[in-house]
């Protein structure tokens, strides 16, 4: 923990008061930790206070601390386009609970929270489009969790368009003997 706080961090600590559970600025990155229920409120304060104006959500991800309780840590990086401040906002989430989404404030939260959901299975409350994004919808499991074995075989799933494969096989390898006409004459 540094002795002298940066301008942004000092202002944030003063404004958010008791909501900040802890803070530090390691390697030059200002970080505050809030309760998961306060995520949206804290972000709204950061966004709407003119002297902070954190209007760009740079990055949103999560960390899986599987030996600790609560298990997940949702990490957001904010950037202020007018003051060029940076701030990291963290909150801890239980495995089966949800955390407020930032979609109401930032458009970029949409895809990044979808990715966090896709990789960690963290639910975002108020997210209007929480689907898998990088993986396919039939995928089971949360790959970036520490207990996900990356060497395991991928589960097979049923074809999305049943019957199409057989038709293709017929087209590619026609067998004149038993081939049926594709269309009614």
């Amino acid at each position: 923990m540094s002795d002298s706080l940066s301008t942004a961090l000092a202002a944030v600590l003063q404004g958010l008061g008791d909501k900040v559970l802890s803070y530090h600025s390691q390697f030059g990155d200002d970080t505050i930790v809030v309760a998961s229920a306060d995520r949206l409120d804290a972000a709204r304060y950061l966004f709407e206070t003119p002297e902070l104006n954190f209007d760009l959500l740079m990055d949103s991800t999560a960390v899986d601390w599987d030996q600790e309780e609560p298990r997940f840590e949702v990490v957001d990086h904010f950037f202020s386009t007018s003051h060029h401040y940076r701030l990291r906002l963290k909150c801890r989430v239980e495995e089966d609970s949800s955390v407020p989404s930032l979609c109401a404030l930032y458009g970029s939260a949409n895809w990044m929270e979808r990715e966090t959901y896709d990789m960690y299975g963290i639910e975002f409350e108020g997210h209007h489009d929480l689907r898998r994004i990088l993986l396919y919808p039939e995928f089971r499991g949360w790959p970036l969790r520490k207990d996900y074995d990356k060497l395991q075989a991928w589960p097979l799933f049923e074809a999305r368009y049943p019957g199409i494969r057989e038709q293709e096989d017929k087209i590619i390898h026609p067998n004149p003997g038993d081939q049926e006409p594709m269309h009614e004459p």
């Binding site: 740079m58 990055d59 990086h77 458009g107 994004i133």
Partner: protein
């Protein structure tokens, strides 16, 4: 479900089979017959979708009134793999993020780790990194603009630009040993040193090939009626939307926001060189084309300023003298036990940065490329996150697509310059 979002264009979500969710708009003042709408699938394997991305668009005539952008076809678990490898072993994975400018990714990764160690790399290393970053930025923009022009019908500039890009890549190959997957950065230094002759030739490529090509492309397409019709006023994003959707890089600058990571948070030695940050005015495809063209000139300007600075540091060490980070010289390894042990530990266990978390960002070809690393004090990252500019920029594609024509998909996509390796990781 109707959308109540800060800056989105409104509309609603419509679920289609197979997990497709269209974001649909109803243009005002006209009575649309929903049954007349066509759903068209574009990609993931489509000549214009260089890289692999899939779009499902709903059309009313030729107007796009609904869309769903589906990335992920090139997902290969970059972050999961990083967690299973040492910091050093992860460098080749970063090559494959943005494969149009792999060196920028390399340097961003090692600089994040160096930041955690708190080591200051030698001046010569920083200068060479900057020089190669700028050359990579040029190759990135050449690829983007060349491909984007080709897709709107101008094949000639594509051939010119790819030719110049190949001059650069072949020349980079002479110092890194590879054209594409260069793996040139090392934590605390570089793999090899550059020579004066190498710099001479690079300057020759700049002044002979690049300058001429940029001029020719400007002459050929800037005032071309077809080009202007396809680009001007197409894919417009407002400043407010761009910031809300986290857009960075040339796309953000085309809307008139002069934000460049090299200016607002200078890393390496960018404070020592002078360059301009070109910005656009309307935030459309034409402005994006111009911003990228101007950025290549600025990168060339930076290279020319760096050239004498690199020559002035000739003969200096290119890796930091810190046994926690750098491998000892081979002569030492074979002659004394401490160096041998040091080498063994660094290779087998990896560099072990102190516990903690670090975010470091650089200006990549498409925007702010950041790495967020959480270290638990061991030789492997506990968490390694790449903040991919392409992915975030692609998240704003629906703003440009909705209301556009079906033929606009290609130029819009070309100017977003999504790089599959970086978007899907």
């Amino acid at each position: 479900m109707s959308l109540d979002l800060p800056y989105s264009q409104g509309g609603e979500f419509v679920d289609l089979p197979h997990d497709i969710r269209l974001r649909r708009i109803y243009p005002e003042g006209e009575d649309y017959d929903l049954s007349a709408r066509t759903v068209l699938n574009v990609g993931p394997s489509h000549p214009a979708m260089h890289g692999t991305i899939r779009m499902v668009v709903e059309l009313d005539g030729e107007t796009i009134v609904g869309c769903d952008v589906i990335p992920g076809y090139l997902h290969r678990g970059f972050e999961k793999e990083c967690e299973a490898h040492t910091y050093h072993q992860a460098i080749p994975y970063t090559d494959r993020l943005n494969y149009c400018s792999p060196l920028i990714n390399n340097f961003a990764w090692v600089e994040t780790v160096e930041k955690m160690f708190g080591v200051e790399v030698p001046r010569r290393t920083q200068l060479i990194r900057m020089y190669l970053s700028e050359v990579s930025r040029i190759t990135d923009h050449l690829t983007c603009i060349g491909a984007a022009l080709m897709e709107v019908g101008a094949l000639t500039p594509f051939l010119w630009m790819i030719e110049v890009r190949d001059w650069y890549w072949e020349h980079i190959c002479r110092v890194t040993g590879a054209r594409l997957t260069q793996t040139y950065a090392r934590i605390g230094g570089l793999a090899r040193d550059v020579t004066d002759e190498w710099l001479d030739r690079c300057e020759q490529i700049n002044s002979e090939h690049l300058v001429k090509t940029l001029r020719d492309v400007h002459v050929l397409v800037d005032h071309n009626r077809i080009f202007i019709d396809r680009m001007r006023g197409v894919g417009v994003v407002s400043q407010k939307d761009a910031i809300s959707y986290g857009v960075t890089g040339p796309m953000l600058r085309s809307t008139g926001v002069g934000l460049d990571c090299r200016k607002y948070a200078p890393y390496e030695l960018y404070e020592e060189v002078s360059f301009d940050v070109p910005i656009g005015k309307y935030g459309d495809n034409y402005d994006r084309y111009f911003v990228r063209m101007r950025e290549m000139e600025e990168s060339m300007k930076i290279c020319r300023q760096l050239d004498p600075l690199i020559r002035a540091t000739n003969g200096e060490e290119i890796k930091v003298d810190d046994s926690r980070v750098s491998l000892p010289p081979k002569s030492e390894v074979y002659s004394n036990i401490e160096a041998l042990m040091n080498h063994f530990k660094l290779i087998m266990e990896g560099q072990r940065p102190p516990q903690g978390e670090c975010y470091h960002a650089v200006e990549g070809g498409n925007g702010e490329l950041g790495f967020y690393i959480v270290s638990d004090g061991t030789g492997r990252p506990y968490k390694a996150r790449c903040r991919p500019p392409s992915f975030v920029n692609m998240g704003s594609a629906h703003l440009q697509l909705l209301g556009a024509q079906v033929a606009d998909i290609v130029p819009i996509f070309g100017q977003i310059n999504m790089i599959g390796g970086e978007c899907d990781r």
